[in-house]
Structures are given as C-alpha cells and as structure tokens.
C-alpha cells in the first residue's frame, strides 16, 4: 500500500501502485483541484508539483511517488487566504470556465520556484503545453507576470 505525502500530509492510499496520482487525489483524498482533461498527458489540466517540479498527475503512477512531496493547487492557499500566485490569477480574472486553471497555476508555480523573474519568452515556454479552450491565455500570462512582478511586454501580440 503506497504512502503519499500531499501538501505536507501523509496518506496511506488503497490504490494499486500503477494507479495514476490524479485518480487518487480526486477519488481517495478529495482534492479536486487537479482536473482530468485528456488523460494522455497532452493538455496539462492535471499538472501538480512533485518535489517542486511540474508533473502530469494523470500519467504519474502512485507507486513512483513513495517518499516524494506532492503539492496540489490546494497546497498554495485557501479561498479565504489565496497564495500570491492564486491572488494574481484572481486579480487578472484569469479564469473563464476554470477547468485548466489549477494546472496553469501549478505549472507557473513550478516555473517561479526556479526562475522568480522569468522573461515573457520563458513564461510562454513554460506554459506552452498547458491548454486553455476558453482562450484566456492573455489573462493567464498577465497573472503570471503580475506574480513575478514583471512589466507588460512591449508587444503582447507577437510570439517571441
């Protein structure tokens, strides 16, 4: 029976070692922030952090996470007291339907950990594989810039 450490708390989980982390988070631990989008590691809606680095939880078998620290969007703050990156997403109205947002926040969080002042190109490169079907990418980028204390780039339209 694998033991998982999620947001600083240890859980003995009933699932088989090959079960993807996403199912355990949502079905066993009641952490519904990470979403099932495609189940193929192509949309990023299930992104969480493992040891501070971005991981697609739909393709991460819990058996490989023994002794490693999982952080989900719930670990960054609460609705009453959102963390700085979450607050930036709220301030920029970055969510429309919100389905991709937990993944976006976690991907951006992992970026800012290793690179607190990313360039516009670095932000875009990091978020490149996280999809948003509402098309709020510009607000998502603005939220990440806000959290990083970065100014609006001169030309927001052009892909760098």
């Amino acid at each position: 029976m694998p033991t998982l450490t999620v947001n600083g708390r240890s859980h003995a989980v009933a699932a088989e070692p090959e079960t993807p982390l996403l199912y355990v988070l949502r079905d066993e631990l009641g952490l519904n922030g990470a979403k099932f989008g495609c189940g193929l590691g192509q949309c990023g809606a299930c992104t969480v952090e493992v040891d501070g680095r971005p991981v697609l939880s739909c393709l991460a078998p819990v058996g490989v996470l023994e002794g490693r620290a999982v952080t989900t969007v719930e670990g960054l703050g609460t609705p009453e007291k959102p963390g700085p990156l979450q607050a930036a997403f709220i301030a920029e109205n970055a969510a429309q339907c919100g389905y991709c947002i937990a993944g976006m926040v976690m991907r951006a969080h992992a970026l800012l950990r290793v690179n607190p002042h990313p360039s516009e190109a670095e932000i875009r490169a990091a978020l490149r594989l996280n999809l948003c079907r509402c098309g709020t990418h510009r607000r998502i980028l603005a939220a990440v810039r806000r959290a990083a204390g970065a100014p609006e780039p001169a030309t927001t339209g052009a892909v760098p």
């Binding site: 393709l59 690179n115 190109a121 990091a126």
Partner: protein
C-alpha cells in the same frame, strides 16, 4: 660541433616543414562583393529555398528562438562547441560581402571569404558534391533573406584545435568530394536521391561513424553514427529495425511519420520538419535511394517485432511494469494510431527501432524530455517524464521496455547512462545560463 650541425639541420627542416604547411594551408581572401545581375532572380530564389530545406541549413544556422539563418546555435562535438554562423546577408556579421565565387568556395572547399579554413562541423565534405547550378540557387536564396546583425559566440575549442590552419591538415587527410553513385539499372528518381543523400542532405554526417579525428570512416558508410548525443541508426544491412525500411515506409517517415514504424525524435525531427516545404517528388527520391542502402531482400538475421512477457520474478522488472501500466500504456497500448488508437502511436513499442538500439540513450532522452509538438501543424507529441520518474525508476522502466520489446538482452550500463543523462537535464523553466 657535430651535434650543433645536426641541430641546425633539424631546425632548418622543421622551419621548412612549418613554412611548407603554412603555404599549403594558406588561402587568399576574396574581394568583397555581392550578387551580380540576375544572380538573385526569383526563380533561382524559389529553387534555392527548396534546396536550403533539403540541406537543413536552418536546423544548425538558427539559434533556439532566434531569427532564421542568423546563426548562434552551439553544435556539440567531441572536441568542443562550435557555433553556427550568421548566413543572412548582413555585411558585418553575415554573408553580405560574399560574391558567388566566395560562397561557392565556402560551400565546396570549406574556406570563408577571408581565407580561413572552416571546421568540418559545417558539412562541406558533402556539399563538395553540389552542382554549380544548385550552389548558385542556394546563393540566390541566402542573399535574399532579411539581413540580421548577429555575431555568433566564439567557438569553445581547446588549443591547438582552435588554430584554424590545422584544419588544412585535416582536409589533406580526410577531405574528399563525395562519390555520387550511378547505376544504369536504377531510374532517375534513385539517382536524384543519391545526389541529395550524398551531397545536399548529407545523411552520412550523422548516420556514418566518425574516427577519432571526427572524419566519417570511408569504409563504413551508413553503419550508424551519432548526432548531438543521440544514436543515429545504421541505414544499412546492420540496421536493428524490427520492420524492414521499404521505400514507401521511408517516404512516409521522411514526410511525417510511418504508422507501423513511428516518427522522428531528437536531431532527426528538424530534418523531417524541414521536409514540409519540399515537393513530394524530392522526398520520394531520397526514400528510393536510402531504401537500397539496406541491401537487397529482407535481412536474414532480422527478428520482427517482439512483445513477450518479461520474467515475473525480477522485482526491478515488476516495478518497471507498474510504471509502464500507469504512465505509458494509456497511449502505447491503444492499438496504434492507424487502427483508431491514440494518434501517432505505433501498434506496439515492439515496432520501434529505439528499443533495439545498441545503447539506451535515445530511449532515455525521449523519456526525459518527451517529444514537443510541432508548431501550427499536426504531429506526434509525448509528455516528458524527466520530472515524474527518479533515475532509479527510469532505469527500471527502460529495463522493462527492453526486456519486453527486444530480443537482444539487457543494455550494458543502463543505470549509469540514465544517471548521466538525468543529471544533465535542466530544471524545467530554469534559465539556460543558470545551468551547471
């Protein structure tokens, strides 16, 4: 007295040898110039664009995220890093002062306009086989690009390799214009493919092994080589591919991907991407020629695709199997893109040459970094597992894949290869200059 005379003679002989070498190595600077009348005619430019795609110029001469053809990309070689130069027509930092004769000398003799010998990372050993008319078309194409002012970073080569006249000695030893095969029993397509593969597309630059001085080994053409830390498989009878490469399969692979054998990753991806702007006939010609490099008929020792249950009593393989079930199977057990499974997957990983390779580098690099999607075009995509799996878990998974999908036995020093490649990986999002 006598000893002194010998010393004088030896000194003299040495000076003479140095002077002789200097003379042999010396090349004149050519007068600055630009395109003459008619040398950049639109028809020439259009033809040159296709040729530039088939020579994969942009894949070396464009830096990550940089302006096309403005250079600056570091090419890793066993001797050090060589930076591809700016080949836009900027007069200060690019080819702006190159006349057609100067461009021709650079392409076919590896000497720049100022008379300096170029390192053979630039494949003039192949371009030496280009026709005058193709060199002229390539000249028309590069001289009509938007000029970009960009100085390539200095090469990082140790002395004496940093001393360019030494390249003249290398050329004396190893530089021969490529032999373009001709065979009266073959058709025009095959001959076109032979010219492309041997000269312009320089397939052997990666797929032929190199000697200790970095020259392609003449007697071992297409026996398999290296590219940027990846294994470049043999295009020869010794190919370990589980399914033979037919002309049709190669044409599909070179244009996009082959449903049975899969598609390109690593340094072969920019090659396949460059083919998007190339007429289908050219791809077909390349495929017609390359298919014959494997020799006639199916190779006798070839084992078809393998998929067998690995021994269940090995705990490392059992751990690898669990990882495969949770991380890989959702795509790679979907039956294959052609049968309605996940697009761009083959029917089984047993179809992939990667798992039959003599070493695990390609598998580990793909697992670590995934396959990034093409921009604005359909194509394969694979997520990166470099942050999901620890080196030990990656090793277990690779051992399981090898045991299940290859008849060839475990890879030697798999764990060491995984550790080395995982250590090199940058943290996702980290600044390039922050890397160790």
């Amino acid at each position: 007295m006598r000893r002194r005379r010998i010393a004088v003679w030896l000194g003299g002989a040495l000076a003479l040898a140095v002077a002789g070498f200097g003379l042999a190595a010396w090349r004149p600077a050519l007068a600055p110039g630009g395109p003459g009348p008619g040398e950049t005619a639109p028809e020439q430019v259009r033809r040159g664009a296709v040729l530039a795609s088939l020579g994969y110029c942009a894949s070396c001469h464009t830096a990550e995220g940089g302006q096309p053809y403005a250079g600056g990309r570091g090419i890793g070689t066993p001797f050090g890093t060589i930076h591809a130069t700016n080949i836009t027509p900027d007069p200060e930092t690019g080819l702006g002062r190159y006349s057609l004769p100067a461009f021709t000398r650079a392409m076919r003799a590896g000497v720049d306009r100022e008379g300096r010998h170029l390192y053979p990372a630039f494949p003039y050993t192949h371009y030496a086989g280009l026709t005058d008319s193709d060199v002229a078309a390539l000249y028309a194409f590069v001289m009509t690009r938007a000029p970009v002012r960009a100085e390539a970073p200095a090469n990082a080569l140790p002395f004496p390799l940093s001393w360019r006249p030494l390249v003249a000695g290398w050329k004396l030893l190893f530089f021969r214009a490529p032999a373009i095969p001709a065979d009266p029993r073959r058709d025009a397509d095959w001959h076109r493919g032979a010219y492309l593969a041997e000269a312009l597309s320089h397939c052997g630059a990666c797929h032929t092994p190199r000697n200790l001085l970095g020259a392609e080994v003449a007697g071992r053409a297409y026996a398999g080589g290296e590219a940027d830390g990846w294994w470049a498989p043999p295009l020869a009878r010794s190919s370990p591919a589980p399914l033979p490469w037919s002309e049709d399969a190669l044409a599909r692979y070179l244009a996009e991907w082959d449903p049975q054998r899969g598609g390109a990753a690593g340094p072969m991806r920019p090659v396949v991407d460059a083919h998007r702007t190339v007429p289908a006939g050219e791809i077909r010609a390349l495929a017609a020629y390359v298919a014959t490099l494997y020799g006639p008929g199916p190779a006798g020792s070839r084992t078809g695709p393998v998929d067998r249950e690995p021994p269940g009593d090995d705990p490392a393989l059992a751990r690898g199997a669990a990882t495969y079930a949770g991380a890989c199977a959702v795509c790679h057990e979907s039956g294959g893109g052609a049968a309605g499974g996940v697009p761009y997957t083959t029917p089984s990983l047993g179809h992939r040459t990667t798992l039959r390779a003599p070493d695990p580098r390609n598998l580990i690099l793909v697992l670590r970094d995934g396959i990034a999607p093409r921009e604005h075009a359909p194509g394969p995509i694979m997520p990166a597992f470099g942050t999901t799996l620890t080196p030990a878990q990656m090793t277990d998974l690779a051992a399981y894949l090898r045991a299940r999908f290859s008849p060839d036995g475990p890879w030697p020093d798999l764990a060491g290869t995984v550790r080395g490649l995982m250590r090199e990986a940058p943290a996702p999002g980290a600044r390039a200059e922050a890397r160790p």
